[in-house]
Structures are given as C-alpha cells and as structure tokens.
C-alpha cells in the first residue's frame, strides 16, 4: 500500500477520444492534438466547439476529437469554418491544418479568412513536407530540402522559396494573434500550450482571428528517427521559421483589431470619416 495519497497529475484529456491515432510513431501531430484537447477541457467549451479538419494527415481528426467535427476539402477549412461560425457565432470553431493545406492549395482561403478577421482559431502544423501523400515538396519545404518531388533538393530557381505564413499574415489588418511555436521539448510544449490556449481564449472573448503555427517534424517522410527529426528541425527550420509572436493586437496596446486597423489607416479619409450613412 502507498503511504501517501497519490493524485493523477497527467492524463488523457476528455476532449480527446480514447482512440489510437493514425499518426506515425513520434509524429508531433499527436502532441498538438492533445494540447488542443486540453485547452478545450480547461476552457470548458467542448459542448460548443466545432472542429474542422481538412485533407492531409489531420484528415482523420473527426475520429479523435470529442466535439462536433466537420471534414473539409483540401485547403478549404477556413471557408468551411467561416460558414459554421457565421451561422452559430456562439460556437467555438477551430481548423486544424497542415502546410500543404494551409499554405498552398488553401492560401486564398487562409489569407481571406485572416483579413476578414473571422473570429476563429487556426492550428497550423508546418513540417515542411506533404505527409499523407508520402513526402512531396511542400510550400514550406526548405531550399535544398530533398523530398519525393524535389529529389535533387528544392531548387529555388525553379520551385521558388518557402512561404512564411506568420510573417505574411502579420501584414494584414484582420488577425488578432499570430504566434509560431514548436513542441520539441517539454518547455516548448508548455509554451505551445499557452499559445494555443490563448488562441482559443481570444475566440471565446471575441478578440478575433488567431493562428498558431507549430513548427513540426515528419520522421517518416524525412527518413529520420523522431529524435533526429527534432535535431534537423532545430538546425534547419527554426532559423528559417523563427519562433515568436508575430501579432498580438491586445499586447501591442490596441483596444481591438478594428482599433488597430483604424489607427494604421487613419490618414485615409474614408477610413477616418466612415462610409455611406
């Protein structure tokens, strides 16, 4: 018999169904799924949350999250989430997307949901490769990175350069909060959790569009162990995709997204004076 009363200090969150995921061993998707589910539990919002998971490794998300789930076509999650949120603004709506989905085929949907300032939460897994289809070059694959469709390494002369989503979206007036995190150590997992929780809290509070980019790995398609993958990610991806907060309108001292946008364009007559009565 134990001498002291023990308490459970870490267990599977309720919002994550007791189902073995389709993810490969060591895949960081599982960590991020758990952080989302913990957040849903801690905010007590499972009953009003609707998740959107589009094509890619996250496509089976509806089997893993206990909240209502909508599967979306490749790249279209922000549009689908927009439709859901506009119908039921009291729902908490999140989209969980990979890099091919969010930064290639769905770039238009990503940019415009952001610039509309949809009050939704986007979780963006950037692992610089298409995982589900077997390791093709992604919009975020690094220069010289070897993939199935860049067998000689990403040649920037023909394939161009990777897209830095947080930096790109930070030029827009619409987003409330943009942060890039990673989950390679317990300390970074805690930071990622804090960011994800804030991204959901923002929606609960009506602050607006929040996107958390999680720099991630793909051991299977990178052809490395999970441990080697983290090393490769730290040496190659983090310098290209620096961690940090790219937008946080409240922390920047603005009252709201709208106030920040108005301040930025205050010299425009129509912005300052308002439109048609």
């Amino acid at each position: 018999m134990e001498q002291k009363e023990e308490k459970v200090v870490f267990e599977r969150p309720d919002a994550l169904l007791p189902v073995v995921t389709n993810f490969c061993p060591g895949c960081t998707h599982g960590i991020v799924h758990r952080l989302v589910a913990e957040t849903i539990d801690e905010l007590g919002i499972e009953g009003k949350t609707v998740g959107v998971t589009p094509v890619g490794c996250s496509v089976m998300g509806y089997n893993f999250f206990g909240c209502d789930m909508v599967e979306a076509a490749h790249g279209r999650a922000p549009a689908v989430a927009t439709g859901i949120k506009r119908v039921n603004p009291d729902n908490i709506v999140f989209a969980y997307q990979g890099d091919g989905d969010l930064a290639s085929i769905g770039t238009a949907e990503t940019v415009h949901a952001a610039t509309r300032g949809e009050n939704i939460t986007i979780i963006f897994i950037n692992n610089a490769i298409y995982g589900m289809t077997g390791g093709q070059m992604a919009p975020t694959s690094l220069p010289h990175q070897v993939t199935q469709t860049s067998p000689y390494g990403r040649d920037t002369a023909s394939a161009g350069y990777p897209v830095r989503i947080c930096e790109m979206l930070s030029t827009l007036d619409g987003p409330a909060y943009l942060e890039r995190v990673t989950v390679d150590t317990p300390a970074n997992v805690r930071k990622a959790k804090k960011a994800i929780k804030k991204a959901f809290q923002n929606q609960v509070d009506g602050v607006g569009y929040s996107l958390i980019e999680v720099v991630s790995t793909c051991p299977t398609n990178w052809g490395m162990t999970p441990q080697e993958s983290f090393t490769w990610m730290r040496e190659n991806m983090l310098p290209y995709y620096p961690l940090g907060v790219y937008r946080d309108v409240l922390a920047e001292g603005h009252e709201s997204v709208a106030a920040a946008a108005a301040e930025r364009a205050k010299d425009s007559k129509i912005v300052a004076e308002g439109g048609a009565a």
Partner: protein, 68 residues
C-alpha cells in the same frame, strides 16, 4: 509516491519520452512487443520518479498517465 504508467495499447515506441525524462529512468522495453508491434516505453526505476510529467508532455500518443 510518484509514478508514470504507459498504456501499451497507445504506445508506439517512438522514444520521445525516453529523451524527455530528466532522470533517464524511462526506456523502451526490448523484451516486450505490443499488439501493434512496438517496444513500449516503461519506467525502470519507479521509486526515483518525481512525477514531473516531462515524459507525458512529449508523448504524441497520450499513452502516459502520471500520478504524484
């Protein structure tokens, strides 16, 4: 007494918990193969476990429960 328990049904033997443990008391059990064909993680010195949760924080399969 702190302890960590791995649910073999979920563990895929990736070893991220092994690297995360500050006390180096988590290992993959080479004598055991799960139904899915993995060597599952286990604690080799439960008396030393402080229940810090580092292993669980890194587990992508939410296979670890920690008591403290």
């Amino acid at each position: 007494m702190a302890k960590m328990i791995v649910d073999d049904a979920f563990c895929k033997g990736c070893g991220l918990c092994v690297d995360a443990c500050p006390l180096h008391i988590v290992e993959l059990d080479q004598d055991k193969i799960t139904d899915k064909g993995y060597h599952p993680a286990h604690c080799i010195d439960m008396d030393a476990c402080t229940g810090c949760c580092s292993c669980a924080l890194m587990c992508p399969d939410v296979a670890i429960t920690v008591w403290r």
